[in-house]
Subunit: 340 residues, 2 copies
């Protein structure tokens, strides 16, 4: 069934307008009357013509869709502020480019590899944002082979030379431990996220806390949910008093909010009995009582940086490794000297 291809020229001829007018109509630009637009869409419908998304990208170097696959249970995505803030930052840049985000949950890194390949082969996306890098990430090789424009959100030690944006999490963990040690804490615990995705933080915390003595290095992994954070906090705070940490660092802020509540429920004062240090510092940290001290990370800005860097890769104007400002300490009401 070799057919003659219907082109934009045929649509323009049938509608009695220029090719430019057809393009205006399909790109939803102003300058056409409703009647003309209707006639153009009618002609396209009759001829079975639609602009190929890629044809547009190739012609105008304009990308109108970028992809993001997230390997995480659907339920958790809704509970953890990080992704929504990150996505909101990405969207704040996409909107300037009239670009949409193609968002898909996947069950494994392998599924993501297949998906990114299909999206790119079928020209459904003009580029992709890759997140949640692990050691020996299978995406690195595939992306190179495909020539898919991407920005990798992850530390250069994991992203294999892809253009990346990343935060110095290890340095920030070390700063957090030093801050608490400076207040006089010697038993500092960490309630971390998913182990495989926070290995750099775990190593840095271990190193910094070991410097304080053997009691300082307790770390528990969670799934980042508030409920897991509450369970971990309860297990840390209900041990023998001489083992109980006097300060806890959390890998996000939902878990820190849960930690505050567990302390209150156990009758422990914050920060006199236990200091609580959150991570990321979304709005939540400013609406609790006491307000939460946090390692502040502009997650919205991080998402925006990732999107901007991706557009640089797509237009050939950018590449390399882009560290964004590391999380910085914002002391508020939930941290203080032990026993104060």
């Amino acid at each position: 069934m070799s057919t003659t291809r219907v082109t934009i020229k045929d649509v323009a001829a049938r509608a009695g307008v220029s090719k430019g007018a057809v393009s205006l109509a399909f790109n939803h630009k102003p300058g056409l009357s409703d009647a003309t637009r209707e006639r153009i869409f009618g002609a396209a419908r009759e001829l079975g013509w639609a602009p190929h998304p890629t044809a547009r990208s190739l012609a105008g170097a304009r990308v109108d869709v970028v992809g993001l696959a997230v390997c995480r249970p659907a339920r958790l995505l809704g509970l953890e502020p990080f992704y929504m803030e990150f996505v909101s930052g990405v969207e704040s840049v996409l909107i300037e480019h009239s670009c949409a985000l193609l968002l898909r949950l996947v069950r494994s890194a392998e599924e993501e590899v297949g998906l990114q390949e299909s999206w790119w082969r079928a020209r459904q996306v003009g580029g992709a944002i890759l997140v949640d890098f692990r050691a020996d990430d299978p995406r690195v090789g595939v992306v190179r082979r495909l020539g898919l424009p991407v920005v990798a959100v992850g530390h250069p030690s994991l992203t294999g030379g892809l253009t990346s944006v990343w935060t110095d999490d290890a340095g920030a963990v070390t700063e957090a431990v030093r801050y608490l040690a400076g207040l006089g804490h010697r038993r500092i615990a960490r309630v971390g996220g998913v182990a495989a995705l926070t290995a750099l933080r775990t190593a840095a915390f271990g190193a910094a806390a070991r410097a304080l003595g053997p009691a300082g290095a307790r770390q528990l992994a969670t799934d980042w949910s508030g409920e897991a954070g509450a369970r971990a906090t309860r297990s840390l705070l209900t041990g023998a008093a001489q083992d109980r940490p006097t300060a806890i660092v959390y890998d996000n802020d939902v878990m820190a909010v849960a930690g505050l509540a567990v302390a209150a429920e156990l009758g422990l004062a914050v920060p006199a009995d236990v200091s609580v240090l959150a991570w990321d510092d979304s709005e939540l940290c400013r609406i609790t009582y006491p307000t939460l001290s946090a390692m502040s990370h502009d997650v919205h800005g991080f998402g925006a940086d990732a999107a901007r860097t991706l557009f640089g890769v797509i237009t050939g104007e950018g590449s390399g490794s882009h560290p964004v400002p590391a999380p910085v300490l914002t002391p508020r009401g939930s941290t203080g000297p032990p026993g104060a």
Copy 2:
């Protein structure tokens, strides 16, 4: 430039495989060796062929992308748990259909109208989820004219006969007021969301609260952010004691968390001095101290219902108006009799 159209047959011939094999490769199905897949992709590249996303949808009645436009500042999207939970519910159904969500922020309802039309005309989506309905919504007419398969998330009084999923917010507001009145409260205030999008709740609260006497009907509109919720709470609780509400209903749970903190900051006990009732009941309500009583709404399930209903519309198996279970009262620690 009338060219002979390259078809899947040409790609198959060049790669020395069947059309079915080309289809397997591009749909990323198993059953081909890596070498064969590479040869197929190579042939497609040389001939400049890619499967048209729509060709697939039309042929297999398979939709692999659905659209969602949200008219909200990027920053707010990241702060309010509702959307992320809703999206996570949508994704939980899309993943079963190997379908992605095309997410775009827009600045106005008019921009959304144009976007939905472009997406549909260019066959970038097989259907759309429409949210945030207002009175005289401009999307209703356009969707009908286009024949775009949609599910409208909103009350039938606003969605103009489009297939819809909705919750009985008015009934739930009335239940909330009756519950607090039953505890003995006579001065009940509401900290609401954006006025134009919560008109049904505002009317229902006004009617229910007026029944309690003139003092009962105080309502403040916000942008749904925790900070706006804190400001509204402060303004309600710092008035003259005889005017101060003894119970506050919030339109989401972030604002209720903020309300708890403002009460603590003002030295008011919850619930003895003021009862706090949250809405939606995300995980946040269970990780505060006291835990937050809430009108519980399964937002994740609501998103899943919306996606399922959309697939029904796309396959022609479903239409009509689908009420989902209304929010129900979950009493926890933050509500009680006034002065108790």
